[in-house]
Symmetry: D2
Subunit: 344 residues, 4 copies
């Protein structure tokens, strides 16, 4: 923590800040410049957390306070000495030089739709199958998912195709049901800071796909992953899915610069959801390819056998008939940056 | 729902959209302009919800789709025929011409701190007492609140001062404990779209203070309140607490324009949290007065007997010694816009 | 400037950064903590500007770089030793305990409209009269203002009412014409970083009302004012007019927290435009009162004798018939925070 | 324009809106739904512009107003019947299946730096050469560019390499000097809505690279291009360079979704600046490749022979030694989406 004093701060004000910093066991380094005095509060990550709780911003003579050390620990690249985490899920690798292609319908709607979509996704050579049994909906009057029946159809799809299943958990009370089916538990953007949920998923040890909140910084995404990691669950994938900005020409602004930034900050794999930000299927391919070119470790994309009939997010689901073509292009682009689509 | 066709959309494309709109029981009104054709899909709020699920944005010839009717219902001002909801909580009124002054420390830390703060808040004539027993923290390594012991101290504070208690619920598993003490359950910004939590609080019937999410629109805030209202719980207060923008000179941008906007959209009371957006106590008074001047139905403000020693958000808590002075100014400003601080 | 080295940065990397810092005449203070090494580059504001140009962020072993000293100088509160600037414009004071009430139509449309509006504004006791002769319009096909004829009508309005005139300059080529009429030159949000314009206005010495850009930080607003101040023109008023956020329920998000923040950062007066953010007249009063309560040094508000017939921004202009009532409330709120409406 | 009436709007209120719509020559189409009445104001783009000026949002009984037709005309894809514009600049094509690789230093600093950079860029097979003689700087105390001397060095670089020159114009008074050298005039983000500048560049007929403002919507970018196009200058390239969001881990958020969106809205070529958003050279390659994968018509990238010594934006300039490697990868990715780097 660095405390920047105001121009003209008095010796007493400086001494008072030094006292408070030292009162919690930190060392205070004072640097006097021509205009400003800086006080470095040094003492390891945990003590710095404590300094940040002192409210020094409000002390007389203090201009502002700058955090110096990173607030995340287990997620940091340094924690793994610069190496990438490579997860293994149902025999498929995620991370490193592997590109995970996760595809499937937004929502499990019925047996025909789910199995037809699953078959097509498997046929095109995807890495895992996605599908939602519980859906977070802005409106309480919208379709909320098939629930357990949806989970059952996902289990059937896995048996049929061999693909690991990625599905979302919304409510802790459904944890056991979801654990019976999910190879990867998805935590949606709205729940990125639902700490009760993160903690329990952490304890379960099951792999997690953690989506970035609508207006979360990449640092906050890493802090959220820390809630899972600190329970001993190292199987975390991060997911960029678009952030909220002022632009109204699309639903969200897909923040692909988060990919190289996160790859530098953390050892965890970084996945991109190219479907929700555009909100329309004709822009999904270009965002999928761009994610691969930017160095993502995979994408999670919505694919449906008959998008026009889809119950939810109909406009953005790519028809299964176009999915194999997209896969071929993805493979080519991923190749340029040294990655291969992950398969058994 | 209004479907705007592209310039040059063909008759077949128009007919196909009309078919899909009519397939779910809506009426399609066609307006042909010089450049564009518009198709209005009309049939009540519920059918419009269904139209929006059709994904017509992705149909050939469609340019974009504009929602027309409001997606919220029970929260809308029309639902109460233009009248304000006036809640009654422990004998205090919230809404209408009443200004609710809710004050107290960020976190319950210990008995001395809590009771001293409570006494001062009561003395200055506040409407209710706030205090957190469970704290949502970005870092898993930060203090997470006293939990049940905190609730016990809140109960003691209520007994002592007579003030109703506002406290936050984070985890459904703590609902029963919180219901024993809270006169108002606070739902924090991170949980605005935690639908499981909202539903259960709705069923409990207990009054709720629902904070706007960090990047939620005012419409989404109303949609979230709908999850509570539809369970038959009409005791909902909305709370503006600052939104996330690009500005880094303060923690959040307090969006006071949301006050007149919400007052027009909904019958529910609108409260403002003037503490979290500034993040520093010397800017809290001006935001409190501005909220009152803008027509808010109250504020929820952090006040502490010894802010310098506070465990959490130390910089932004107003010392109890300054609270009476602030209250006097608030009373004067609220008076200009026709409101009086709500007391028994 | 503070350079934060990565965990595990080598001695060589540290020495290289120190060399570069010293190469431009700064002193390097090294603080070694348990995890991190910090290098403070100290040497006055100008040298720090130079350090920031070194691109040290990209040096091996550097994690990030934190600016420490403020990049603005003449605008800073310290520059005036903590005192407020009080401008004097046509005998009216702006700043300190004075509240400037600047009112008038969006655009000068014709003689009847302009004079009727001016008369009503003067009658209600405003401080200055506003009106646009040159209008910045998003569309090249929209009405662009009356130009010189508009300036002439403003001159006539001043003669008639005695009120100083505030009007916008868009194009340097109109500077001389505008200087003939304007007591205050308005620089609109789109031109906040039009440095050619700012420099010439600076040289003219004429008072300036400088609007914050749509997505400018408060620090950038101060940097822009510095372009005027450094030419020796001290007559600068800053103006908050709403920033762009994701919220679509109103045109802009009025950032009233900028008021106390700016009042701490700078000695310059801070004015608020309560008209453009709401974009509708029924929300303008509450934003005007909120601005006064938050400690603004004035407002610049759109008032029109027949808003329904206005050529531009018709929805947001307050009818002159309601302006006296608004003025009375403003006076009451400003009084609570120790300000009086500025008149001759 | 579609006017949405409030629930419960009276017949008189509806009739009044119809009157106002018809008063300017539009036709009013009324659609009555169960809850709401819609009034479509139809009459071609120009009349719709006029309707939007009526301020109907503020009329009694009106809920809100929805623009229907696009406010831009010459830039719209429909205007060219769906065909892409392909510009020709010094023998190089921009648009269609051509990928323009524009590279060079941020600022022209001196003869050695400029010529060395130019040679390397030419050697690697770039399409055009960039370099700034006039620099827009947030601080008036920063280096503002070499001015005419910079232009002279650009002219020499062109002569030497044969590459067309892209350089920025900031101040109308420098227009003639810039016209002597620039094959493409760059308009920076800060000047996207400097209409005086746009109009004069439009009249000059010279090709323009128009950068998106820091918080401009893609629609506003098209409206700005319209100021150039309406003067008869069809040689406009649009440029995405990162928008301002709440994220602080990088300078700007590069909005690559704008590429497919713009390609659908307009016939104009879309270029991406991958340098300014990251602000650090190690993230520039991934953004360059992502831009190509997303379908951009080119990139404008900062390349410097000795970035460590650069005066301005040192951290983000790619060393010329790495540029050929980047070009090879770009070529591969562009190939996947059907584009070839544009050369003579």
């Amino acid at each position: 923590m660095m405390i920047v004093m105001k121009e003209g701060a008095t010796e007493d004000q400086i001494a008072h800040v030094v006292d408070r910093v030292e009162s919690i066991g930190c060392t205070a380094h004072i640097s006097k410049g021509e205009l400003l005095t800086l006080i470095g509060a040094i003492g390891g990550r945990d003590k710095e957390q404590t300094v940040s709780g002192l409210g020094l911003e409000a002390e007389p003579g203090v201009d502002h306070v700058v955090p110096i050390s990173k607030p995340y620990k287990l997620a940091s690249r340094e924690f793994r000495k610069g190496e990438d985490s490579v997860l293994e899920i149902g025999g498929r690798k995620v991370g490193g030089t592997n590109f995970a292609l996760i595809a499937g319908p937004c929502t499990v709607e019925n047996r025909d739709q789910m199995l037809a979509s699953a078959d097509a996704v498997a046929e095109a050579g995807a890495t895992m199958l996605r599908g939602g049994a519980y859906k977070p909906r802005t409106s309480p009057y919208s379709f909320q998912g098939l629930g357990r029946e949806g989970l059952r159809l996902l289990a059937e799809s896995r048996e049929r195709t061999g693909l690991p299943i990625v599905t979302e958990l919304l409510d802790l009370r459904d944890l056991d049901d979801v654990l019976e089916v999910a190879d990867v538990i998805q935590v949606g953007a709205r729940n990125m800071q639902n700490y009760a949920l993160l903690g329990e998923i952490g304890k379960s040890g099951r792999p997690v796909l953690l989506k970035r909140g609508l207006s979360a910084t990449v640092e906050e995404l890493l802090m959220a992953s820390e809630y899972v990691l600190k329970e001993g669950n190292e199987n975390v994938m991060l997911c960029e899915r678009g952030i909220r900005t002022y632009e109204t020409a699309y639903r969200f602004t897909l923040d692909l610069l988060a990919i190289p930034a996160l790859k530098e900050m953390t050892h965890l794999p970084v996945i991109v959801d190219p479907s929700h930000a555009p909100g329309r299927r004709d822009w999904v391919e270009s965002m999928s390819l761009a994610a691969a070119a930017a160095g993502a470790d995979g994408i999670i994309i919505e694919v449906h056998n008959e998008p026009e009939k889809a119950i939810c997010d109909a406009a953005q689901q790519v028809p299964t008939s176009e999915f194999a073509g997209l896969t071929a292009k993805l493979e080519a682009v991923a190749g340029v940056v040294g990655k291969t689509i992950s398969r058994v």
